[in-house]
């Protein structure tokens, strides 16, 4: 089963499609969670996902806004799609009929 951050990385990379690379995934995660995403956590998670066969990464073209430096392109594999889908279904199932409103708890 995926970890929480692994799911966030896979989801962000899948949504970005061909534009999925390190900085873009990081921005997407920060926008979605409202929290910072460290480069260290992102890159080590990408390595872990790649070792599990859930993503493929390669060095892409450089761009002027990156000072002529190349980017690490990320592509989610079919195995990665399955893993993310399983995680999403599991979270959805376990969250069924769960209300996170404090008023309901009282």
């Amino acid at each position: 089963m995926l970890g929480e951050f692994e799911y966030l990385v896979l989801s962000a990379a899948f949504r970005l499609g061909t534009d999925a690379y390190g900085a873009a995934i990081r921005r997407a995660i920060e926008d979605a969670t409202g929290r910072g995403c460290s480069i260290g956590a992102l890159y080590t998670t990408l390595d872990r996902l790649e070792n599990k066969g859930l993503v493929k990464t390669w060095m892409g073209a450089s761009t002027p806004e990156r000072g002529g430096r190349s980017k690490r392109i990320v592509s989610v594999t079919s195995k990665g799609v399955q893993a993310a889908s399983s995680f999403y279904k599991a979270v959805t199932r376990v969250s069924r009929d769960v209300s996170w409103s404090m008023a309901d708890q009282a």
Binding site: G22, A23, I39, G40, T44
Partner: protein, 309 residues
């Protein structure tokens, strides 16, 4: 302050693999982070990368099989040499008399002791360099910085815990138990002074062990660029050099071969049939000198060819 942090982040990112370094620097530039945020991010990634290496069995094999034994041997050698150097320094500096300058015997002893000390210091530096070279040679390039840090930490630990002193104590106990000739103690008036007891040994360890070892690690990592035959020769002489270190330092199997615990001649106590081998090992210890000279000449030739071209 921001510029300093960016500069530090760039320097720290050198510890990453080249492709990752490029990608990380590009990501940081694109995200328009402040210098301190960039430094924090890069530091976090570098720590994670090297922490992951610690969980690799090869790191522990290097630590237990090479780093700890070698740093212990070098520390013992360094302590012994610092002891000898301390005695001579104490004799000349702490007991100075201008009248000595008029004595021919003084100049004779000074030249002899300077020559002996210089030879021993050179031997220690060559051993340290060889040890670093072997460590660099057996490390993958990305592991070399971690192995260097482990090497220094082990050296520091050995010095702080006083392992060489404990080994000397152990050797004294063994000699006493086996009724062997007593190992003479270190010179008390010399070791009573903190400079000779603490600072001088640390200086010897820093300049004759740590610095040459770093240099050796750096060269050992680069040896892949050599021709295969030359790599084999370099591999053989560096191992031989460490064998020489092993058989010359007390505290191990060869402890009982020496009466005083200090090695006057390397082949003292060995069967005569082995003397040529041991004598050859004695000269192999200085192989780094040939390496340095060859590299310097090679650089000069390359520079001359570049200028001509």
């Amino acid at each position: 302050m921001d510029r300093i942090c960016w500069r530090l982040a760039n320097v720290l990112s050198e510890a990453l693999a080249p492709t990752e370094r490029d990608a990380v620097r590009g990501d940081l530039m694109e995200s328009h982070e402040s210098g301190s945020e960039a430094l924090r991010d890069v530091l976090g990634l570098v720590i994670r990368r090297y922490a992951a290496l610690l969980s690799d069995w090869r790191t522990w094999v290097a630590l237990l099989g090479l780093i700890i034994p070698v740093s212990m041997l070098l520390s013992i050698a360094s302590q012994n040499l610092a002891g000898i150097g301390s005695v001579y320094s104490w004799l000349y500096f702490n007991n100075w008399d201008w009248g000595l300058l008029r004595s021919r015997g003084f100049w004779y002893v000074l030249s002899e002791s300077a020559r002996e000390l210089a030879g021993r210091y050179l031997t220690l530096a060559c051993w340290s360099w060889s040890a670093g070279f072997l460590l660099g040679r057996t490390s993958a390039p990305r592991r070399a910085p971690l192995n260097s840090v482990l090497f220094f930490l082990t050296l520091l630990f050995v010095v702080l815990v006083g392992a060489p002193r404990y080994l000397t104590f152990f050797s004294q106990e063994v000699h006493r138990a086996l009724a062997l000739p007593r190992i003479s103690n270190s010179n008390d008036p010399v070791s009573a002074l903190m400079f000779y007891r603490v600072i001088f040994p640390l200086l010897v360890q820093a300049f004759l062990v740590a610095v040459p070892a770093v240099w050796g690690i750096y060269e050992g990592v680069r040896v892949e660029k050599f021709r295969p035959a030359l790599r084999k020769v370099v591999w053989a002489v560096s191992i031989s050099s460490l064998i020489a270190l092993l058989i010359q330092q007390p505290g191990l199997v060869f402890l009982l071969l020496w009466e005083s615990g200090m090695p006057p001649q390397m082949w003292h106590g060995w069967p005569p049939a082995l003397h040529p081998v041991v004598q050859l090992l004695h000269w192999i210890v200085y192989w780094p000198l040939a390496y340095w000279v060859t590299r310097a000449l090679g650089h000069r030739r390359t520079r001359a060819e570049t200028v001509l071209a």
